[in-house]
Amino acid sequence: MVLVLALGDLHIPHRAHDLPAKFKSMLVPGKIQHIICTGNLCIKEVHDYLKTLCPDLHIARGEYDEDTRYPETKTLTIGQFKLGLCHGHQVIPWGDLDSLAMLQRQLDVDILVTGHTHQFTAYKHEGGVVINPGSATGAYSSITYDVNPSFVLMDIDGLRVVVYVYELIDGEVKVDKIDFKKTSSSHSAH
């Protein structure tokens, strides 16, 4: 029953001024155990705000981040799952699944979380799961049109992870759910 919040690419204050109000009302402290941030926050205030939601905060460095101390990639273990974190601008072509799979094998993780494309995707392939939470503020991206604010909440419970996707479409929050199950030796989706 571990709740992990994955978000990124907020681009505050350059491209957006704040999270959408509806997202902010949902993000209350106390429910979430971990936060994974793909990067491009960009300023310290956003970092502090995320810290108030949950003290366990992991950030990978995006190209516009003003804090240079964030790592390029990060791996952590939550429950039975190994998670990998990277901003994604290092992996070219941007958003290419195979290249991301290469990174995943390199990091040796079950779930890889990357960003940069400002587009939500969740792929499952032979190695594991690749999740892109999109941009939480809906910031402008040169490679994506019609960016909708989105973020991802993962519910890790034993060998099963449920991925809830929250998207703000036309001013309404839409929620979707994807189940992933990990077997002891190999990975499989529902």
């Binding site: 709740l3 009302s25 949902m26 993000l27 209350v28 106390g30 429910k31 909440l153 519910d155 419970d157 449920v162 809830y164 929250y166 929050v173 839409k174 929620v175 979707d176 759910k177």
Partner: protein, 827 residues
């Protein structure tokens, strides 16, 4: 799972109906101890979970019913958001996502439960670490957690409060004990538990019905070896208790497995129901859940939370039983809820070990919980509502019994913190049986006596120091303490003196106005003298007043003691007192303007009064205080008129001392001769009378000695002080006595100051007393010798004769004093 469970000892008294003639307890005993051996079952009956007088079948059905209810509730309330809701294929994710703010979503309920669970876990992790082998196992903890969670979800108005887990834990424990007991019985009487058809081998090739009722060979061998001494074949031959148990736990009885009354599978269900009944009160009066709520109960007259009301009821009962202790606690500002909160909320769970607690809870649950009095609610002070049911009365009685157990320690402390410490750290090795017996007697009292608490009683607690209650100890209407005074240690009086002294300072003006009118004229006269001498203040006077007041309180102390020890004598002395009063009045009136002498005589006679305990001139004795403080005089009046003296405790030796002290007065210039003569004659009468008195109890004597010495100290001191304040001494003698008086004043005041300190060692005070006594003796001796050479007395030769006679006796008394003071200092 089954860990080593300590089987608590069952005292015989529980299995055998007690011989107490109280109808309430008798009735409950017979009914409520049917299964005294199986606490889990017994408590379920007592708490109302199971019907009390029912057949085995009915019990089983009731058991099954409540278990079913619990199971369904558990399924309903304990929500797992992962499992899809029944009947809905695609749940609305907008509502049912983890971050949803919607309070109805399963996730919000899940998070609320998680919050509760966190609170419960905090407490559970600290539950009974000394019995951790059972209570800290994950299985047990899981059960406790679930039960508490479910109850709190069912009763959201109460929520989870710390302490509920302590109420639940013993319930679970007794159920576990029961199950283990059952398994023991099972081993012994295995035959009756298993059905004949169980494990029956069915021969395939046997086409005809030929049931072989013998069990398989290996089983038979076992039984043969086990049941060598218990070859009971028939159920009816068993002990009825065992029979009952067998029937109750028969797998094939009514309701099948669900109806097995002592079942390991359903411990959680049973515990929940017991817990619910305990907290909810099961339609009775005392609902433990009330003790956890902070808002006033419905229909409450005082508008206070129930636990505060119950604590007050406790203090009520205490004041009925032991008023001095009650007033002592109230004066210190020890409000009942400081310690009673913990006692009541956890039903003494934190004060006793688990084994003792189970015994106590046996008694508590055995008391019926129904409302005894059906009277209208309006005119009964709801503050004592708890006392109206036998169970509530027993709980309060138990608490009062505990307070009484700590009586001496409580009375010995001077500040509230220490008192509370003593109350909250109840000694571990107390005799539970005695406590329970005392509690039962108090319970009878609480239920039977017509408890009408004056509304002002509760107003008492509003003041930090309530002098009003203090006066209770001084009036003659106090209820005699139920605990025999023989149990009081000697130190009790010393401590009480200090306590009273403190209170006295505050309540000087609230003394009872019981001054008889006939004394008024006399008091006026004395007041004249006071005013005349007021222009000559001296430090000794101030000290004298202080010690004066102390003396008056010592007198009241003594009065309390006397009252308890010898009431008959008191009445006698009252009579004597009356007569002597008249006598004194006459003598006083004769005095005329001889104020100094009169007062001095009064001093002397006052001493006589106290020390001899005979009729003496008590009025005059009180009057001797007049020169110092008129209100104090009124005080003394009241005291003396009400109470008799200490005579029963004093031997005639003391009277010698009186005479000596009385003779001490004449050396100082006395204006009125006839008064003196009458006084001294009175003194000599007293002496002769005293020689006839025999000191009663040794103990009382001892106390009397203490008192006497202290008194003597004070008396002489104040006498000197009074003399000093007079300022009408003749020549050197008076001046010398002044200085000496001042010296003694300072010493004795220093003594008293020391005595005031809260942490005064009793032995130290006694030693100090002895020393001051010695000093006084020396002073008196010196004065005496001075006076011998003095010939300035205004009186004639008759007085000299008397003085001579008094001297002889005085010397004898002095020697006696010396001996006694030596004894004291040795102590």
């Amino acid at each position: 799972m089954p860990p080593a469970v300590v089987n608590p000892l069952m005292p015989e008294s529980l299995l055998v109906p007690p011989s107490s003639s109280d109808s309430v307890s008798q009735g409950s005993t017979l009914e409520n101890r049917r299964f005294g051996d199986l606490r889990g079952l017994q408590w379920r009956i007592n708490l109302g979970v199971l019907p009390s007088s029912a057949s085995v079948d009915y019990l089983r059905r009731a058991t099954a019913d409540y278990r079913r209810r619990y199971a369904s509730m558990r399924r309903h309330l304990l929500v797992d958001p992962h499992t899809p809701k029944r009947g809905s294929n695609c749940p609305d994710l907008v509502i049912d996502n983890p971050l949803s703010q919607n309070p109805d979503s399963t996730w919000s309920r899940f998070f609320r439960n998680a919050e509760l669970e966190r609170m419960v876990d905090q407490d559970l992790s600290r539950l009974y670490p000394e019995h951790g082998s059972y209570f800290q196992t994950p299985g047990c903890q899981g059960m406790l957690r679930r039960i508490l969670l479910l109850w709190c979800l069912k009763h959201p108005e109460y929520g989870y409060r710390q302490g509920m887990h302590e109420l639940l834990a013993p319930l679970l424990y007794v159920l576990q004990v029961d199950v283990e007991r059952l398994s023991e019985i099972r081993k012994l009487y295995d035959d009756h538990f298993t059905d004949k058809f169980d494990g029956l081998l069915c021969k395939e090739n046997d086409l005809s019905y030929s049931f072989d009722f013998r069990k398989s060979p290996d089983l038979e061998d076992e039984i043969g070896s086990h049941g060598n001494d218990k070859k009971v074949k028939n159920l009816e031959e068993l002990d009825p208790m065992i029979q009952n148990i067998v029937l109750l736990c028969d797998t094939y009885g009514s309701e099948g497995e669900l109806g097995i009354v002592l079942s390991e599978k359903f411990i959680e269900h049973d515990a929940y129901c017991m817990f619910d009944a305990l907290l909810g009160g099961a339609h009775g009066l005392v609902a433990m859940a009330d003790f956890f709520s902070s808002s006033p109960a419905a229909g409450s007259h005082t508008g206070l939370s129930p636990v505060i009301e119950a604590s007050r009821a406790l203090y009520c009962l205490l004041s009925l039983v032991d008023s001095p202790l009650h007033s002592h606690l109230v004066d210190l500002g020890v409000e009942p809820q400081y310690f009673a909160l913990r006692w009541l909320r956890v039903l003494f769970g934190r004060e006793f070990s688990l084994e003792n607690l189970l015994i106590i809870w046996d008694e508590i649950f055995a008391s019926d919980n129904s409302n005894v009095e059906e009277g209208p609610d309006e005119d009964i002070d709801s503050g004592i509502r708890i006392l109206r049911s036998p169970r509530g009365a027993f709980i309060s009685a138990m608490a009062v019994a505990m307070i009484l157990h700590l009586r001496s320690k409580l009375l010995a402390t001077e500040n509230a913190t220490t008192c509370l410490q003593r109350l909250l750290n109840f000694p571990q090795n107390t005799n539970i049986k005695k406590l329970l017996e005392k509690a039962k007697s108090l319970q009878a009292l609480a239920l039977s006596s017509d408890i009408s608490i004056p509304p002002s009683f509760f107003g008492v607690y509003n003041q930090s120091k309530s002098p009003i209650t203090r006066s209770l100890t001084l009036t003659s209407e106090t209820v005699s303490p139920k605990t025999p005074l023989n149990l009081l240690p000697d130190s009790y009086w010393e401590e009480k003196w200090r306590v009273i002294h403190e209170a006295e300072e505050t309540k000087k003006d609230e003394a009872d106005k019981q001054v008889p009118t006939r004394k008024k004229g006399w008091t006026e006269k004395v007041k004249f003298s006071i005013r005349r001498t007021e222009s000559d203040p001296s430090p000794s006077k101030v000290q004298g007043s202080r010690t004066e007041s102390k003396a008056s309180f010592r007198r009241s102390l003594l009065q309390d003691l006397n009252k308890a020890l010898s009431s008959d004598e008191d009445t006698e002395k009252m009579h004597c007192l009356e007569t002597s009063n008249e006598q004194d009045n006459i003598s006083v009136s004769v005095e005329g303007e001889g104020q100094d002498g009169g007062s001095k005589d009064n001093n002397c006679t006052a001493e006589d009064r106290f020390l001899s305990g005979n009729t003496g001139s008590e009025e005059n004795s009180s009057s001797f205080t007049d020169p110092v403080s008129p209100p104090g005089e009124v005080n003394d009046h009241e005291i003396y008129s009400e109470k008799s003296s200490v005579a029963s405790n004093l031997s005639f030796n003391e009277s010698n001392e009186d005479s000596f002290s009385s003779s001490n007065v004449p050396p100082l210039p006395v204006s009125s001769m006839p008064d003196n003569m009458s006084q001294i004659s009175g003194c000599s009468n007293d002496i002769t009378g005293n020689s006839a008195t025999v000191s009663r109890e040794r103990k009382g004597n001892k106390v009397g000695w203490f008192w006497k010495f202290g008194r003597n100290n004070n008396e002489v001191m104040t006498e000197k002080g009074g003399d000093a304040s007079e300022g009408t001494k003749a020549g050197n003698g008076s001046s010398k006595s002044n200085t000496t008086a001042a010296a003694t004043c300072s010493t004795s005041s220093s003594v008293s100051c020391k005595g005031d300190s809260a942490d005064q060692n009793v032995m130290g005070t006694l030693r100090n007393l002895g020393q001051s006594m010695l000093e006084n003796i020396q002073v008196i001796e010196s004065v005496f010798q001075q006076d011998k050479g003095q010939g300035t007395s205004l009186e004639g030769f008759s007085k000299n004769i008397l003085v001579g006679k008094g001297q002889v006796t005085a010397m004898a008394a002095l020697k006696e004093l010396r001996k006694i003071s030596n004894l004291l200092s040795e102590m």
